[in-house]
Symmetry: C2
Subunit: 271 residues, 2 copies
């Protein structure tokens, strides 16, 4: 059976203690390098191969350090500190010429059932079936690897000049394309699936890119299994745009209304 394009893109092979090799993949290419979600998922794929049994992701920060050319990658994954129930890993990704292209830290933990409480307000959820697919822009290969069905705050690049969307909020259903059963790897990639809020604010593309993303994991393995190949409900917004940067906040909800992940980014933009 052929690998799903996502699994092909994030393949990592152990290469001695602490090291892994990987390769960029054209199917998830963005403007100036790989789609950031694939970088995050590739790093997590390496890290989870060394994570202790029974430990699941809690939090991951990925720093996108430089534009990246197509080619071979090497990943170094070290255990910074291991406690009884929480482990910290430190990761670096290198391009073929030995330069650092991204760094990351991952917290995993032995998690069990405890008090569970949703404080966030679940968003309204018009049915997936009633909405239209976004037509992917052929300039960005990775857009074709996801199905986007906007509920609100879609990107309107053909909007009249100076039309802006001051809230910069988007709500959408999103799924891997072709569909793929959700796991930690696709979940961390989905944390980066939202278009940069500066595009939404101004209704136009700009030179821009994420410099750091933090993904927070709230799901159990059972939650992931129950979600399977169903679409996720995503909500993305920003707090403030200032001095070449803005924050980008996001929530990913399961088809049945559970908050699976939250994430935040700082992204650069050129005016």
């Amino acid at each position: 059976m052929a690998l799903h394009p996502f699994d092909r893109a994030i393949q990592t092979m152990p290469e001695g203690t602490e090291w892994f090799c990987a390769h960029t993949d054209d199917n998830y290419w963005n403007m100036n390098g790989p789609f950031g979600g694939i970088v995050a998922a590739t790093l997590l794929n390496a890290a989870l191969q060394t994570t202790r049994n029974g430990f699941a992701p809690v939090s991951m920060t990925v720093n996108f350090c430089a534009p990246q050319a197509p080619g071979a990658l090497r990943i170094r994954c070290r255990e910074a500190r291991a406690g009884k129930s929480v482990v910290h890993q430190s990761l670096e990704m290198f391009s073929a010429d030995g330069q650092v292209v991204s760094t990351a830290s991952l917290v995993t933990a032995r998690r069990s059932d405890t008090l569970s409480h949703l404080a966030a307000t679940p968003p309204a959820r018009p049915e997936f079936k009633t909405l239209q697919d976004m037509v992917p822009d052929p300039h960005f290969a990775w857009l074709d690897r996801y199905q986007f069905r906007f509920i609100d705050g879609e990107l309107k690049l053909d909007a009249v000049a100076n039309a802006t969307n001051p809230s910069a909020v988007s709500m959408l259903w999103v799924a891997d394309h072709p569909v793929r059963a959700l796991d930690w790897l696709s979940l961390v990639a989905l944390c980066d699936v939202f278009f940069l809020r500066i595009f939404h604010l101004r209704n136009e593309l700009a030179l821009a890119g994420t410099v750091s993303m933090t993904a927070q994991f709230h799901a159990s393995a059972d939650d992931l299994a129950r979600q399977g190949k169903l679409p996720l409900l995503g909500r993305a917004w920003a707090s403030v745009f200032s001095r070449n940067f803005f924050d980008q906040q996001a929530q990913l909800w399961s088809y049945d209304g559970q908050l699976l992940a939250t994430s935040t980014q700082m992204a650069w933009f050129k005016e």
Copy 2:
């Protein structure tokens, strides 16, 4: 002139290339180690001594890897990658016995005036003068190093059994005590000044602690200077509590209503 207790607590001395020494400080002691904000500020203090001229903080992630005993600390600060306008630094903090107690990554950038847009809703701000100081619990030294004036969602540990605060939201004025002019160092510490949301949810203390915090910086040096020694308005909330962890989101607003920083944490709790 005597150093402010904050400046004494975060002192870091260069000790050869890439290395700094520091020391824990009883004045900012928490339950099982230093107040996390002081750890973050000490790491940032080391990092900013090696940051290039004209570069200001954009995003910082601090991973709290282990409980920490009082004593000497060593910090290693490496430049992971330097671009023309964005630099990535990687940090590790070691206890006297050579164990990693925290790791961090810092993004700094050459930032300039651009389009500026506040998308977040500024919170209502009852006057600082009209509110009462929280009486600090003498068990936690660091509480005495801040002035807290709650507007909403204060911690009610004497509340009737089973009383809960399902929103887990707090709003408060907060300032260094004694007052101190705001800089990047105190700003990153303030990102961790909010009590853990699990305490607010249940109106009782619990075994709990932050494992990872990300602080995002939106202010300019001029914004910090204008704020000076005035109190900041803080807002903290959570999205979800699940499987021994919860996220904790926060905003720090200047006295005159600018969003200076946003932050997020994942924190562990024992039920």
